[in-house]
């Protein structure tokens, strides 16, 4: 605490009194000013409300969607790795050794591994379809442990087993089955695959971690070798590891798959890729966020407008307050507090509206509603800031009024 007396303090001591407005009274005045004209307050806060509602709803809906996606990815398991051939040193496509799946299974934390192999054949609904109409379906040979490794599900029928892997039997991915028009998998439907009839024994449900299989036709390795001449080395190996050892397995996987040339092997984690995509999908929301920001801006201008009119109408009140002892800053602060309060009320209404919209949308899609507290706080803070800024010009006009003139012109 300072002991010296500054000149200003000495003068004040002579006066003995100074004009003072308690903060609580400032807010009471603001409430009085806003509540005194309820319809006008409602209309002028509407712009801010819509802006904040837009921001909260856009962030809430994308947040809920993202949370849903992440939850689904987590349910699929983040402990699956894929091994694909990369570029060889000479720039050509590398080839994975045929021994790779067996080698991978010998890594201790690996729970299961399954490979798919290249087959140079196309699949058609029947033998009358022109050869160019491949429907973009790829034929792979698949190991019987594939479904288990993917933790995938069958929509119909069964997956390949050691018996059907030797026979002309095929399992179709979800999109491939739809494209071929196959909806039964009891073995009675045959498709024309590599100049042989193959019986459809299973149709897979979509596999989010390996979407390339949704548009694939899978046959056993033995039958691929026997009927389709495919001795193909693996084009992709799916590896399911102990969840705590994902990083360790990732570290040794390349060297295990191709000991002489580990640099030819590409390892990836599809769950990571999906998560990254979920994060990136938020980016398209920026358009809506921009719209929300514009609504906020217009809301702020609306408040400024209404406050300017209010200052003109309330010259008498301003004059009276000056006569009662208000300083110019007291008058300015009162009007800034009013516009801030308007914006805060509008922002709160908008936050409720936005949260409600998010809840309705999320519920309709069977998502969990995620409206984060930081989002709400930020939206309210922006609204308050807009209100405070909008109040500055009207407040300065009010403060600049000469009290005698303000009283005279009423």
């Amino acid at each position: 605490m300072s002991i010296g007396i500054r000149p200003g303090q000495r003068r004040r001591q002579q006066t003995g009194h100074r004009s003072r407005l308690r903060p609580a009274d400032t807010w009471a005045l603001a409430v009085l000013g806003v509540a005194g004209r309820p319809v006008r307050a409602l209309l002028s806060a509407l712009g801010i409300s819509l802006g904040v509602a837009t921001l909260v709803a856009v962030l809430g809906i994308s947040g809920s969607s993202r949370a849903q996606l992440i939850a689904r990815i987590d349910a699929l398991g983040t402990n699956m790795l894929t091994v694909t051939p990369g570029q060889s040193l000479t720039g050509g496509q590398a080839v994975l050794p045929r021994t790779a799946p067996v080698m991978v299974r010998r890594i201790a934390p690996v729970q299961s591994a399954a490979a798919i192999g290249q087959v140079d054949a196309n699949v058609y609904r029947n033998d009358r379809i022109p050869a160019v109409n491949t429907d973009a379906i790829t034929v792979y040979s698949a190991q019987t442990s594939l479904l288990h490794t993917l933790q995938g599900h069958l929509a119909r029928g069964r997956f390949l087993n050691p018996a059907t892997a030797r026979l002309p039997a095929v399992v179709l991915g979800a999109s491939a089955a739809a494209a071929l028009g196959v909806d039964r998998a009891d073995g009675t439907i045959q498709v024309w695959l590599g100049n042989h009839w193959f019986a459809v024994v299973g149709i897979m449900a979509p596999v989010p971690l390996a979407p390339e299989l949704d548009r694939a036709a899978l046959v056993g390795f033995p039958v691929a070798r026997r009927l389709l001449g495919a001795y193909g080395s693996p084009v992709e190996i799916y590896v399911r590891t102990n969840p705590v050892s994902v990083a360790a397995v990732t570290g040794v996987l390349a060297a295990t798959v191709d000991p002489p040339a580990p640099q030819n092997v590409t390892i990836s984690n599809p769950a990571d890729a999906l998560t990254a995509r979920a994060d990136a999908s938020v980016a398209f929301q920026s358009l809506f966020l921009g719209l929300g920001a514009i609504a906020l801006l217009i809301g702020g201008i609306g408040i400024a407008n209404v406050m300017v009119i209010s200052v003109l109408e309330r010259r008498g009140e301003i004059g009276l307050r000056r006569a009662l002892g208000a300083t110019r800053p007291h008058i300015a602060v009162q009007f800034i507090a009013e516009s801030t309060l308007l914006a805060l009320a509008g922002g709160a209404g908008g936050a409720i509206l936005g949260g409600f919209a998010t809840a309705v949308y999320a519920t309709a899609r069977h998502w969990h509603t995620v409206v984060s507290a930081p989002t709400l706080a930020a939206a309210l803070a922006v609204a308050v800031a807009v209100g405070a800024v909008a109040g500055v010009y009207p407040a300065l006009r009010a403060a600049r009024l000469s009290p005698a003139e303000a009283l005279r012109t009423v």
């Binding site: 100074r18 407005l21 308690r22 300083t327």
Partner: protein, 227 residues
Amino acid sequence: MTALELTAATKQHPGSPPVTALRSVTLTIGEGEFVALVGPSGSGKTTLLAIAGTLERPSSGHVRIAGRPVGHLPDRELAAVRAYRIGFVFQQFFLVPTLSARDNVASGLLYRGMPAAQRRRAAADALAAVGLSHRAGHRPGELSGGEQQRTAIARALAGRPAVILADEPTGSLDTATGREILALLTALNAAGSTIVVATHDSEIADALPRIVRLRDGGIESDSGSTR
């Protein structure tokens, strides 16, 4: 002791030609006086009150309130002078329609930074002084014109100012109610308040102990200090 002292106070409003609202007015009002400022409209009554109440600065001349010169004070301190030393009463009552009479009166103490409870106690006292205790909880819309003006007088009175400046306090009231207000002001003056009333109603002015007549911004006659 003087409550209010104007020395050669002149007010010119800029323009072409400039308008002189007040020319070289010298006026001393002692503590406890009850003064009528009379004159036709445009004679400078309102300007004189505004300058005496520090709402406006004179173009030249000096103003002292309770013996203290206020001409050089910055806006902040003039506001303090108004908050503590001067009570205003206007022709339009300037009551907040959504507040009770008591809260309207309490708002007279708002800019002293006084806690709300203390303000309300002072407001109750002031309402009692103008005989409106029974209407304390009513809003202005529920009060008659006379009651509204009494509420406004209580608001001016609540802070026990050195001087009460009333500009046409009976201007928007009928004759009978105007007389009631005059009687109230007389009673407050008898209880010790210094009061200056600007009015164009000579019937009201004639009832007051001291009459200052204004014409064209200057003092035409002054019946003289009663103290």
